[in-house]
Amino acid sequence: MLVLNRRQSLKGLSLGAGSLLLGALTERVMANADGNTLPPRFVFVLQSNGFDAIQACPETIPFEPYANRELFESLDLTEHRLPNGLAPLEAHKKRVTVLQGLSGKSTGGGHSTSSGALGQYRLSGASTTAPLGITIDYQLGQTVPGILPWIGVGMSANAGRNATLSFSARGPHKPLAIALNPEKAYNAFFSVAAAGDLNKRFHLKRNLLDYMVDDVKHTQKALGALGGVELEAYLDAYDSLAKRQYRLLDAEDQLRKSAPRPDDRFTSTIATRRLEAQFEIASCALIGGLSNVATITSAAGEINAQPYLGIGIEESNHQYGHMGGNRRDARGIPLYEKSRGFVMTQIAKMVSRLESMPEGNGTMMDNTLIVYMSDAPDTHHSTAMEWPMLLVGDLGGRLKLGGRYINYPGYGKPGHRTVGSFYSTLLHVAGAPQETFGRLDPDLDEKTMQTGPCPELLA
C-alpha cells in the first residue's frame, strides 16, 4: 500500500540521515503518519489583470454588485456549474469555494498592488520592490516551515526575466525573489539531487558561498561603521544563501525522490509552457517537503505584455483588460476566461497530483489550501473595494470551505470583512494567531471588519 511505502521511505530516510534538520522534518512527518495533526500547506496563485466578481459567479446564481450586497450569504456551490473561467475545476468542485466581497482598500488597487496583494499595504509606486512589510505567504511559511520556509516560482511574458521581487517579502524592504525561469528554479532547488556536473556545481557554489560569508565578514570588520546597512545586507544575503545550500544538502535523498524531470517546458520560449513547468516544480516542492508554502505568479504585475500567446491570446493584458475587466464590456470576457482557465487547468493538475499522494488517513490535498487571486484585486483598473478569491481545499477540515459560494456584505456594510482579516484567519488555523494583518483601512471598523479570524470561515 502506498501509505506504507511513504512511511517506510521516511523511516528509512531518518535512519540514513544524521542531520538535525532532517531528523526534525522526518519526525514531524512520522508523527503525521502516526495520526497526529498534519501541518497545513498553502499555495498562493497570483494572476495579473484582475479577477472580476461577475466572472467568479456561476450563471445560475444571480449576481449582485458589491454595493447591493447587504447580508452574508453562503450557497451550495456543488448545485451550480462553475463559470467558464473556473470550469477546469469542475471535477474538484467539492473542494472549491468562491469567496466574494472581501475588500483590500489599504492597498490602493490599480493595475497591480504588487506585494500589497499578499501584504495588504499600499506601495509608493516609486518602487514596487520596496515592500512595507511581511507578506502572508512568507509569514505562513515561517509558521509551518519545510526544508525552506517558502518558495516562489512564476511566469513572465519575457523569457529573459529571471526573477521578480515585487510580490513576496519577509519584512519591510526585504523582498523575496520569485523565480521566473523554470530551469534556474530547478537548479536552485533540486540540483543537489542531480547527477554529474550539475551536482558538482552545486557543491562548488556551496563552498564559494561559505567563503564569501567569511570574506564579507572580514571586510565588514575592517570597515567598521562605514560598512553600514549595505554590507550588512550583502552579508545577510550570502548567509541566507549559504544556509539554504546546507538545508538542501541535508535533504538530498528526499529531494532526489521528488525532483521533477526537466523537459523542454523548462527552457521553452513560450510563456504558458514555462508556467506549466513552474506548477510542476511547486507541486514537487510540496510533495518533497521542500516547502509547505508556495507562491506561483502568472505574469503578475505585467500589463503591457502578451503572456498567453501560447494558448492563442494575442492581445496584451492591457488590451483585453480594456475590453473586459474594466468596463465589463463583453468582448474581453472570453479572453479572461481563456487565460484564467489555463491557470485553473494547472491548479486542477496540482490538485490531482496532491490527491494522489497519501498522507495520514487521506491525501496531501486534504491538508492543502490553494488561494487564487489577482494582484489587481477586482478589475483591470482595480479599486480593491472587493477582492474575489477562489479557494481549493479546507486544510483537513480546519476551515469550513469546499463546495461553497460565499458573499460577504459589500464594502463598509455591517458584517463586511477585509482581505487582511482573511489572512488573519489563515494564520489562526496555521497556529500563529494574529488579530490583524497588514495596514488597516481607516474607513472601516477595526474590530468587526478587520480583526480575524472570520468566524464564518472557521470549522
Partner: protein, 655 residues
C-alpha cells in the same frame, strides 16, 4: 495615549531634521503669536477649515490628538502648503523655519521623532533653497559621512566582462521601473538575496568560461614553460584576475586565503573546480559590488576625510563614464604632483572631452531628469488617422538633447525653450512621428531640425516624448506634469498621497479633463493639488498623443494655469498658455539654481545638505560664467569639496 498616535505617524511625515539642527539662526519663536498671525484666521473657532482647529492647541502637547495636529502644522509648513493661497498673511521663510524647529523639538521631547528622509531620493528639495544659496552658509564644511553604495548595472557588467567576455541577458543590478527620479542613488538599492544569487551565478559562469576548453591548463603550462612551478603559475593567474577585475594586487594574506580555497575544492571536486571558485570569489568581493568613499583615510583636524586617490579615480570614472577607471587614470591619480582639485579638474575635463562613454552619461542625466523614456511604457490605443510609436519620439528627444549638449551653451534655457526639434531623425517615417508633430503624412525626413512656431512647440516640456511620458493611457496627466515642474524646476515638494485617497477622476465622456479634475478642488485635496494642477493644465494645449490641438470635445481648448505659492515672487501668477509658463520658468535664476541641485544629486548620488552650500554656489557660478555650459557645471561639481571630502563616520554617527 502615545501608541496609537505613533502608528498613525508612521510614514506620514518626512522632515529634513538636519536642517533644524543646523539652522543656528533659528531663535526661540513665539509659537502662539505665529499661530495667531498665520493660522487661526482659517483654523480658529470661526472657520475651522478642513475641520482643523488650532486655537485650543496647547504648547505642552498633552495628548495624541494634539500631537497629531502639531504634526500636521509641521508638515504643512515644511511642504509649503500653508498658509493657503488667499490667506491674509504669510510668514517669512525664517519665521516658518523657526516655527518648524520649535514644533520638531517639542515633539522630540515627547519621544516623537519625525521620520528623517533627508537621505532619501526624491526628498532633496526639503533642504531650504534660500539657505543653500545664501552667502552666510558658504563657510560650512561637508557634513556627509564616508559611505559605500552599490555599483550601477553598467559598472557590474564592465567588471564581469573584465574577467571574461560573455553576454548575460539580464543584469541583476538592473534598475527598477518605474524610473521616477534618479536611478543610481546611494541607499536606493540594498543588495538582496536574489541579486546576490544572480551575481554568484554570473561569477561562476565567468569562472567556468575562464577555465573551460583547456584555457586554464594552457595558461598554467605557459607559466611553467617560463620557469614557474604550477603553484606559482596559479598564483600568477589569480593576481592577474585581481588586476583585471579589481585593478589592484592582492595582499599576501588574500592570496594565501585564495590558495587555501582552491586546494580545498580541488581536493573535494577535482580540477579545475578549485580555480573556478578562486576566480569567482575575486569577482564577488565587496569591492566589485560596492563603491567605497572614505574607507581608508584618517580624518584631518576638521574631522574631514579626504578620499584616497584610488577612491577618487574610481568616483570620477563612475561619475563620468559609469564604468570603473582605466589603469591610466588610476596611475595619474597615484602619481600626480598637482593639488587634488586641480587633478580632478584636469581629469574630469579630459574624460568629458575624450571618453567615448561621457556623452551617453550626460544624456543619461537628462533622460532621468526629464524622465521621458517612460513614454515607452505608456500604452496607447490605436486610433484612426494616427500612428503612435513612442520609441521614435523618445529617440527624437535624445537627438535634440545631444545636439544641445554638443553646442553646450545655455543648456537648460535652450532645452526649455527651443522650437527646433528633430523629427524622423533616422527612419521612423513609417511609424508616424511626423503625425504626432502635426506635420503632413508625406513629410520628408531630414537630419536637420524642424523649426516650429514658438506658439506651437517650445522646448522639452512640449516635446511629445515628455508629454506622453507624463500622460496616462487615455488622457493627459496634468497632475504628474505639474508635479514634475514643481519638483524639478521650482524646487518644491508635495507630500506622498495619503492612503485614504481613492485617486480617480470621474469617468464622464462629455467633460474635458479640466472639468473632470474638479474633484481635486475640495479643500483637503487642493492644498496639494494647487501646487500641481495649475502648472500642468496649460499643457492641455496638446492631446494625450502629444499632438498640438485647437479644440477639445469640439470646444476651443482651455490652456490657462499659473504658478501658485512657489516662494519666488516673480514666478507666481497666472498664465494663459504653456508657452507663457515655460518662458517665465526658463528665464528664472531660481529655476536655474534648482537645476544645479538636480545635477548635483545625479553626479554625487545623494541629496545635497547645507554642508554643500559652497559647492552648489560655485557650481552655479561656473555654469553662469561659462554661458550655461553643462560641462563646466559638471567639472565644477566633480572637483568640489563635496566630491573630495567626507565627514568622519564616527562624528557623523554622533550627530
Amino acid at each position: 495615549m502615545i501608541v496609537p498616535f505613533k502608528r498613525w505617524s508612521l510614514g506620514a511625515i518626512f522632515i529634513v531634521v538636519s536642517c533644524f539642527v543646523h539652522d543656528a539662526s533659528a531663535a526661540e519663536p513665539n509659537i502662539k503669536t505665529f499661530l495667531k498671525t498665520y493660522c487661526l484666521q482659517c483654523h480658529g473657532a470661526d472657520e475651522a477649515e478642513g475641520e482643523v482647529r488650532l486655537d485650543n492647541l496647547t504648547l505642552t502637547i498633552k495628548n495624541a490628538h494634539e500631537a497629531k495636529l502639531w504634526y500636521r502644522v509641521l508638515e504643512s509648513l515644511q511642504f509649503n502648503e500653508m498658509p493657503f493661497v488667499g490667506a491674509d498673511a504669510f510668514p517669512t521663510r525664517r519665521e516658518s523655519r523657526q516655527a518648524e524647529t520649535w514644533i520638531a523639538t517639542a515633539l522630540a521631547q515627547h519621544g516623537l521623532q519625525p521620520e528623517d528622509k533627508s537621505d532619501a531620493e526624491g526628498y532633496g528639495n526639503l533642504v531650504p533653497h534660500e539657505l543653500l544659496f545664501s552667502s552666510n552658509e558658504r563657510n560650512r564644511s561637508v557634513d556627509v559621512g564616508a559611505r559605500i553604495w552599490r555599483v550601477s548595472p553598467e559598472t557590474l557588467r564592465s567588471k564581469l566582462s573584465a574577467a571574461s567576455r560573455f553576454n548575460f541577458t539580464t543584469n541583476p543590478f538592473d534598475f527598477d521601473k518605474p524610473l521616477g527620479n534618479f536611478t543610481d542613488f546611494k541607499g536606493k538599492y540594498p543588495l538582496n538575496e536574489i541579486m546576490a544569487e544572480q551575481v554568484t551565478e554570473l561569477a561562476i559562469t565567468a569562472a567556468e568560461n575562464q577555465t573551460k576548453d583547456g584555457v586554464a591548463e594552457k595558461a598554467i603550462a605557459g607559466h611553467i614553460g617560463r620557469g614557474a612551478t604550477k603553484r606559482e603559475a596559479i598564483e600568477h593567474m589569480l593576481i592577474q584576475q585581481y588586476q583585471n577585475v579589481l585593478r589592484r594586487t592582492p595582499s599576501d594574506e588574500e592570496l594565501s586565503s585564495l590558495m587555501a580555497l582552491l586546494d580545498r575544492i580541488d581536493k573535494q571536486l577535482g580540477e579545475p573546480y578549485g580555480l573556478q571558485a578562486a576566480y569567482a570569489s575575486i569577482i564577488l568581493k565587496p569591492e566589485t559590488i560596492f563603491r567605497f568613499e572614505g574607507a581608508s583615510a584618517k580624518p584631518d583636524a576638521n574631522g574631514l576625510i579626504q578620499l584616497s586617490s584610488r577612491e577618487l579615480a574610481h568616483a570620477l570614472a563612475y561619475a563620468i563614464t559609469d564604468r570603473p577607471p582605466e589603469r591610466e587614470l588610476l596611475a595619474t591619480f597615484e602619481s600626480s604632483n598637482s593639488s587634488i582639485n586641480e587633478t580632478l579638474q584636469v581629469q574630469a575635463e579630459r574624460l568629458i572631452q575624450d571618453n567615448r562613454y561621457a556623452p551617453q552619461r550626460l544624456l543619461q542625466f537628462f533622460q532621468e531628469y526629464f524622465d521621458y523614456e517612460k513614454a515607452n511604457d505608456i500604452f496607447k490605443d490605436k486610433i484612426p488617422k494616427h500612428m503612435h510609436w513612442a520609441p521614435g519620439l523618445v529617440h527624437d528627444l535624445d537627438v535634440l538633447i545631444q545636439h544641445v549638449l554638443e553646442k553646450d551653451e545655455q543648456v537648460l534655457h535652450t532645452l526649455l525653450t527651443t522650437s527646433d526639434m528633430y523629427v524622423l531623425f533616422y527612419s521612423h517615417k513609417e511609424r508616424g512621428n511626423q503625425l504626432t508633430f502635426n506635420l503632413p503624412p508625406d513629410f520628408k525626413k531630414t537630419t536637420r531640425p524642424v523649426s516650429f512656431p514658438k506658439d506651437q512647440r517650445m522646448g522639452v516640456l512640449t516635446h511629445p516624448a515628455w508629454l506622453i511620458a507624463h500622460s496616462s493611457n487615455f488622457d493627459n496627466d496634468p497632475i504628474r506634469r505639474g508635479h514634475w515642474i514643481r519638483y524639478k524646476l521650482l524646487g518644491g515638494m508635495i507630500p506622498d498621497i495619503p492612503i485614504t485617497v481613492d485617486a480617480k477622476l470621474p469617468d464622464e465622456p462629455t467633460w474635458t479633463l479640466r472639468q473632470r479634475m474638479h474633484v481635486t478642488r475640495v479643500s483637503e485635496c487642493y492644498k496639494c493639488h494647487s501646487k500641481m494642477n495649475p502648472l500642468g493644465l496649460p499643457f492641455e494645449q496638446f492631446d494625450h498623443y502629444g499632438r498640438y490641438r485647437f479644440d477639445e470635445l469640439e470646444r476651443p481648448v482651455e490652456t490657462s494655469g499659473g504658478v501658485l505659492n512657489s516662494g519666488v515672487a516673480e514666478l507666481d501668477g497666472e498664465v494663459k498658455t504653456p508657452f507663457e509658463l515655460i518662458e517665465r520658468l526658463a528665464n528664472s535664476e531660481h529655476v536655474e539654481q534648482v537645476f544645479v541641485r538636480h545635477v548635483f544629486r545625479f553626479f554625487l548620488g545623494r541629496n545635497e545638505t547645507l554642508g554643500d552650500a559652497k559647492t552648489l554656489q560655485d557650481a552655479y557660478r561656473a555654469y553662469v560664467d561659462s554661458n550655461g555650459s553643462m560641462k563646466s557645471l559638471v567639472i565644477s561639481l566633480l572637483s568640489s569639496d563635496s566630491f573630495i571630502y567626507r565627514k568622519d563616520v564616527g562624528s557623523a554617527a554622533d550627530k
